[in-house]
Symmetry: C2
Subunit: 405 residues, 2 copies
Amino acid sequence: MTMGGSLDQARALMMIPQSVVYLNAGSFGPLPRSVYETVAGFRHELACDPAAFLLRRVPGLLWHARTCLADHVGCDAHRLAFSTSVSAAVSMIAASLELCTPGEILLSDQEYQTMRWCWERVAARTGLRLRTFGLPSGACTEDDLLDSAVREMRATTRLVFFSHVISGTGVILPAARICEQAQARGIVSVVDGAHAIGAIPVVLRDIPCDFYVGSCHKWLLAPSGSSFLYMGRAGEARLHPQTISWGDGPDRAAESPGQDVPDIHGSTPRLRRLECEGTRDICPWLAVPDAVAFHRAIGVNRMLAYRRTLAQDARARLEALKGVEAATGSATEATNGMMGFALPRGVAAGAVQRMLWEHYRIEVSVGGLGDRGMLRVAPHAYNTATDIAVLADGLERVLHALREP
Amino acid sequence: MTMGGSLDQARALMMIPQSVVYLNAGSFGPLPRSVYETVAGFRHELACDPAAFLLRRVPGLLWHARTCLADHVGCDAHRLAFSTSVSAAVSMIAASLELCTPGEILLSDQEYQTMRWCWERVAARTGLRLRTFGLPSGACTEDDLLDSAVREMRATTRLVFFSHVISGTGVILPAARICEQAQARGIVSVVDGAHAIGAIPVVLRDIPCDFYVGSCHKWLLAPSGSSFLYMGRAGEARLHPQTISWGDGPDRAAESPGQDVPDIHGSTPRLRRLECEGTRDICPWLAVPDAVAFHRAIGVNRMLAYRRTLAQDARARLEALKGVEAATGSATEATNGMMGFALPRGVAAGAVQRMLWEHYRIEVSVGGLGDRGMLRVAPHAYNTATDIAVLADGLERVLHALREP
């Protein structure tokens, strides 16, 4: 592999067009060329002779990808099912679990909007109540974050769902400690690791959760369509696939023997039941080892430290703009290296995003939170201080133009 | 486009390795080079700048793909949702519908195994009874096929599910007439068109079904991961996505106004609710127009007639082998141009498939039905009479070797 191990070379290993300032790994990660070439090669095989690829090549590749990802996130490969997206995996968990009623589902007040909708649907279906715990808004310690969740855990709490890293602000929650407290109370815990995997070191075996779901297509820079579901504790027997296919035959009982024995498909009966959804393109999963290799060559901790310096830089520059405020009081060291900013009141988020692209070729996420636009800077190893400066200059001009049309 | 319009050129337009005899389009269609290049091009864009591709390029491409496929299958684009697979679409329908109990679900006795499991799960969940109607096994008319379904429709039948083309034998069922009879009795009809789309002319507006699901990755030769769900009549208001994402917000009520108005995403609110499943790779859908163009250049009816001559040829050659019998008494003209054959008793299906590949580089599906192996010849425009001869010779030798080890 000709992959460089240096941050300086990271941009050259990507395929991002020269003119583009890509600061949106938090939504969609671009691919290193090495990852692209691997997944494109698999798809070439699939196009030429799909039977050969799907029936004879995939099993070995799939098990290899599974063990490689399991090693990277610190868990047993037998408990790691690939999935298409975090949304698909969380929806499957939410549809499967039979929680005691009456009772309640507890979420943080900063969960990803669609995941909140997902649990609202569970609440509507089951009669469980949905309640949120408020994360501290200012500067806070890990203990403060833990406490915000734990003090809302009650005897009637059946399930707690929270993000390992908050999608709007990058703030890291003490996932292991929250899950410990849930476990001690008999509360099922489901962790959304979309912004943790590839962004911060994650060791799943140290997190006593029931389920942990992660994206590989954001910070890990694997192809779109690669995510995973890790089954902690004993909860896996309670999951049911939403798409019925070859893994879900009459011997479907999760308690039946042999569920965790490797099969001829690159999985185990338990994993295949959840992963097999008829014929589809699972090449993104098979290219995950190349994304892991990219991270290891540079070093996950080194990338994280670097991204934090870029986030810190963004904070200093953007907070200097009139009406722009960081969305969290936490220090950069308490984040995964991304940073959200509230825009001046009355400025349309869509217009900001569009103008940053059209005039400056800056890719950045700008959404809305209440009456204020929220811009999220999501830098990666391929970004530089110049990119942050370009963003700050561009944003200043765009805000100026929008104020005085 | 440099696409030839001649059957003679079809093989040259594919990427199948020279040494391979590919007779398994019924499981997985290989890609014409034109389709491969289109989908690979989209994926290159996605790799370079995923935000640009997903946010700005996809909407126009998606609506174009939708109208192109809708035109090809004869339906209104506003009623056509893309899906990953037939399994995913049927599972979603099966999980969504609220059918009156007590009552029964009626299937043919030759449905695809996993689809039978899917409806078994519905039966187990709802208390509905699962009942099958037996398709005629010998030579029969369209009236016989219709009658086999209709005579089992009762006042307590809530839903009928059947394949437009039977996956094991290629026999075409009179889908429009069966659905008419279901409609007249107030029975919900769900049609599995996996082996119809791209194989026979299909005009969905002439089929008064509630739902019709089709694969694009088999006979249509589009990339893996491209399938669709067509919503006939009024049933669409009863569907619920299994993965909760951006299409399923608080205005989710299917009856709310504007559900069928084109949106900025290349869909409509109704379609987006079913299609949007978080971030994933929908490039296979976007390449469907190229697969349609491949078919139109040669001509769907011309390809069908040609495939039927190959199937007829296969029948003459394979039935001459000791212990091999066609799995249907129907004439080739009553099929989609594929043909199933029962192998001699006691011959292991897996060994036949493996040996045909290892010794003769023949890709063909060999499964089991009761105690007999079932070999399915699924020829396409790129196959020739020579391929059928190679299969017949190879099978003769494999059966001989297995009989006298």
